[in-house]
């Protein structure tokens, strides 16, 4: 069995949405598009439902990074989703600063239901950036 030392690989929590980004993450697996095995997904109905306290909780528990796979303009709940998710992002980054957590550890990108490759690229690049700052 191939072995890799994952201790040095940053742990990333991904908030993804059931209808939009989750299918893309599943598709990445189906297409065997590899990304770090230390990225874990929690699915939620809509990216504008994420509470900043959940993100802060993830950092407190030891996650190195959090990635919000946002619905973007595809959100089935309405066009205001992008704006609201962006606000969650900026509010959380302010809270992170106050707690001494580097805001760059939180990233967000719109991931549509077929954006498998985009998802993989975002997670990989976040992992690389987090490794550099580790």
């Amino acid at each position: 069995m191939e072995t890799k030392n994952n201790n040095s690989v940053p742990k990333i929590l991904v908030f993804s949405t059931e209808k939009i980004s989750d299918p893309a993450i599943d598709l990445a697996g189906l297409l065997k598009l590899h990304y770090p095995a230390t990225a874990y997904t929690i699915d939620i109905p809509c990216s504008s439902a994420i509470k900043p306290r959940w993100i802060l909780h993830a950092f407190e528990k030891g996650f190195d990074g959090v990635f919000i796979a946002a619905d973007g303009t595809d959100c089935p709940y309405g066009e205001s989703c992008s704006e609201k998710t962006a606000k969650i992002m900026s509010d959380t980054q302010k809270m992170m600063k106050e707690k001494g957590i580097d805001p760059v550890r939180l990233k967000m990108a719109a991931i549509c239901s077929i954006c498998a490759e985009a998802f993989v690229n975002h997670v990989k690049s976040l992992a690389v950036n987090l490794s550099k700052s580790k």
């Binding site: 939009i20 598709l27 990445a28 590899h34």
Partner: protein, 650 residues
């Protein structure tokens, strides 16, 4: 009440999971957790026998929580909720861990990492199920209306079946005429009906149905909402001809039009005018004006007052409960020089050959490019089974063997003096179509066969075209045939649907066709709830298979929408009135007017109107006192899941 007795099942999924994830190690990592009553691995958790065992375990041991770690919840969440339900456990005390799509498959390059991830995912699921609550599904009203995209034979079949199930249908066709590729076909195999006749029969039936509205020249350009309550916008392009126009004056208008362009319907074998119909009995029986080529010279307006260049496109908003994509296929267009295509004269494709027979079948001689055709060479698997081309089409298009042999039989029927030479890579006239192979052999057609490493060569020397092959059927003898016409038996490729894919966001497979959730278990459903696929938009299919999948999609959609209501997850926002101080921020955030102000113990607080709440959760992060939770995604559940993902072995 926290769950105390949890059953955990870790699936091998054959080897799909266990080839990359050490499932025994996953089991051993969680089996001693205090709240885990039993942990076991299973070869196929979704198999009937395994489901039965899980049911028995739940009943025999009074389990109050269930975790299954297997494939994507998109595939089997419902299956295991049903298992829980049958065993008397509330389905919402079940948590699904995706250790296939998001673990074993995604990390097949890192088996140790995949195993570690699977352990953490299962631990997270255990923590979450510990916090889970028993819930009941909610029902919402759903539009008993479907949009069917594509009015080829598949789309019309789908529309008719939905209509028979008392579901209203908007049938939306991008072209100005119905029938798609089948309208271009002459006599069809397995029946002696022509493509046009089949299209006509379906169209006439569609027009009889009061609950089907057909839009031609129409494209879906926007989609929002979710299953049961989609809103789509359809752009209706102008035809520039009023419906009241008489056949006589239209014929005159076509006659006087001075513009002539290559006729796509006949694959460029002849020309048509800028104002046109593809064939006399085409539906709807109203020509259209091809504005890309029209010069607006005004000649047609002089003889037909019903032509109206001032017509504008319209945007039509429609409310539908679901959408079925039945958008058909394109024929593979060979590359320049591929078996002489576009370089050597008299090298044509199967669709062109099909039209050529149709256009010439009443003639005495079979002629192409002014050359009388005697010997015809057919080269199979063009655009299919391209193992030797990077990014080539690896799949077999499957319909083309039968289609071509059927055309060769027809060609011989109309022009008995021709000789057919078939350069194949193995014939696949499967099932009921095998009779055509037999008939073709009996009429004297010659079959030769090559492998991918020695494909036939097409060469031209002066007026002479030759096809050479190293023939496997005669112990690799080199054979050369002089030919007057080379027919490239082209396969199917996905329809050019880029805009449509962007609107509906339906995943494409590696072959570029629309992807179903599971080709055996959920063959016409996509990962977008309420969006279905059918026909050759999904994979190469012949007419019979297209009709079957079109009916299948209609049945699947009807099963969901025919009641006019849907059972949905009980994902609703809830307000803790003690924590709420009515600041109104939730009202501002909610796009569905799901909050109202009520009095609670002498103070104003927010209350969720359950009928309006869609469970999006947009109200959660805006509440300054954290008074709002989303059922199924409470702070306890989400945070304990996060804890589980980071929980280290003791």
């Amino acid at each position: 009440m926290k769950k105390k007795k949890i059953g955990v099942y870790i699936c091998h999924c054959g080897g799909n999971i266990s080839d990359y994830v050490d499932v025994e190690k996953v089991k051993n990592s969680v089996k001693d957790e205090e709240i885990v009553f039993l942990a076991t691995t299973t070869m196929f958790a979704c198999a009937d026998s395994a489901q039965k065992e899980i049911e028995n375990d739940i009943r025999d041991n009074n389990l109050d929580g269930l975790v299954v770690a297997s494939c994507s919840p998109k595939l089997h969440l419902i299956t295991f909720r049903a298992v829980a339900d049958r065993a008397g456990l509330n389905p919402y005390n079940y948590v699904h861990a995706n250790i296939r799509e998001q673990c074993s498959w995604a990390h097949s390059d890192d088996k140790t990492g995949a195993t570690e991830k699977a352990i953490q995912l299962v631990k997270g699921a255990i923590k979450r199920v510990y916090e889970s609550e028993a819930l009941e599904q909610i029902t919402i009203p759903a539009e008993k209306v479907m949009a069917v995209i594509g009015a080829g034979i598949g789309g019309m079949r789908t529309a008719l079946d939905l209509s028979s199930n008392d579901i209203e249908v908007y049938l939306i066709e991008r072209e100005f005429f119905v029938g798609g590729r089948v309208a271009q076909l002459g006599e069809l195999y397995n029946t002696e009906e022509t493509g046009k006749e089949l299209v006509t029969r379906l169209y006439n039936e569609v027009k009889k149905r009061k609950n089907i509205t057909l839009f031609t020249g129409a494209e879906a350009i926007e989609k929002s909402g979710s299953i049961g309550n989609f809103e789509i916008k359809v752009r209706i392009n102008p035809r520039y001809i009023k419906e009241t126009c008489s056949t006589e004056s239209l014929e005159k208008a076509i006659e006087v039009c001075p513009v002539e362009v290559l006729d796509e319907f006949n694959y460029g074998l002849n020309k048509r005018k800028a104002i046109y119909k593809n064939y006399d009995s085409e539906y709807p029986q109203l020509p259209t004006i091809d504005m890309d080529n029209c010069t607006k010279c005004g000649e047609c307006e002089k003889v037909c007052s019903e032509i109206d260049f001032s017509m504008k496109e319209e945007i039509l908003p429609l409310k539908v409960g679901g959408i079925i994509l039945n958008t058909g296929f394109n024929s593979y267009e060979p590359k320049k020089g591929e078996f002489g295509y576009d370089e050597i004269e008299n090298v044509i494709t199967l669709p062109q050959f099909s039209r050529l027979i149709e256009l010439q079948k009443d003639n005495k001689n079979f002629v192409y490019n002014k050359k009388k055709i005697k010997n015809i060479a057919y080269i199979y698997c063009v655009g299919s089974r391209q193992a030797n081309i990077p990014d080539g089409n690896k799949y077999c298009s499957r319909y083309c063997c039968t289609s071509n042999i059927h055309k060769a039989i027809l060609a011989k029927k109309y022009f008995p003096e021709i000789n057919n030479f078939h350069f194949t890579r193995g014939i696949r006239t499967y099932g009921k179509q095998e009779v055509f192979y037999d008939e073709s052999s009996k009429q004297g057609d010659i079959y030769l066969q090559s492998y991918i490493d020695h494909l036939p060569e097409v060469k031209q020397n002066g007026n002479r075209i030759t096809v050479k092959i190293i023939d496997y059927l005669t112990s690799n003898k080199e054979m050369e045939v002089d030919t007057d016409l080379v027919v490239l038996v082209t396969g199917m490729v996905p329809r050019e649907n880029k805009d449509l894919v962007n609107v509906f966001k339906v995943p494409l497979g590696r072959d570029g066709f629309f992807n179903e959730i599971h080709m055996k278990l959920r063959p016409v459903e996509t990962v977008i709830d309420g969006v279905y696929i059918a026909g050759a938009s999904q994979a190469p299919k012949n007419i019979m298979e297209t009709m079957s999948s079109s009916s299948s999609a209609a049945a699947a959609a009807s099963a969901v929408l025919s009641k006019g209501e849907l059972s949905l997850e009980p994902t609703l926002a809830v307000v803790d009135p003690d924590a709420c101080n009515w600041c109104d921020k939730c009202t501002e955030a909610c796009p569905f007017n799901a909050f109202t102000k009520v009095e609670h113990q002498g103070k104003q607080v927010a209350l969720v109107i359950e009928a309006n709440c869609k469970g999006c959760g947009m109200c959660l992060p805006v509440c300054p006192t954290n008074a709002i939770d989303l059922i199924g995604y409470t702070d306890n559940e989400v945070e304990s899941l996060i804890d589980g993902l980071m929980q280290q072995d003791k």
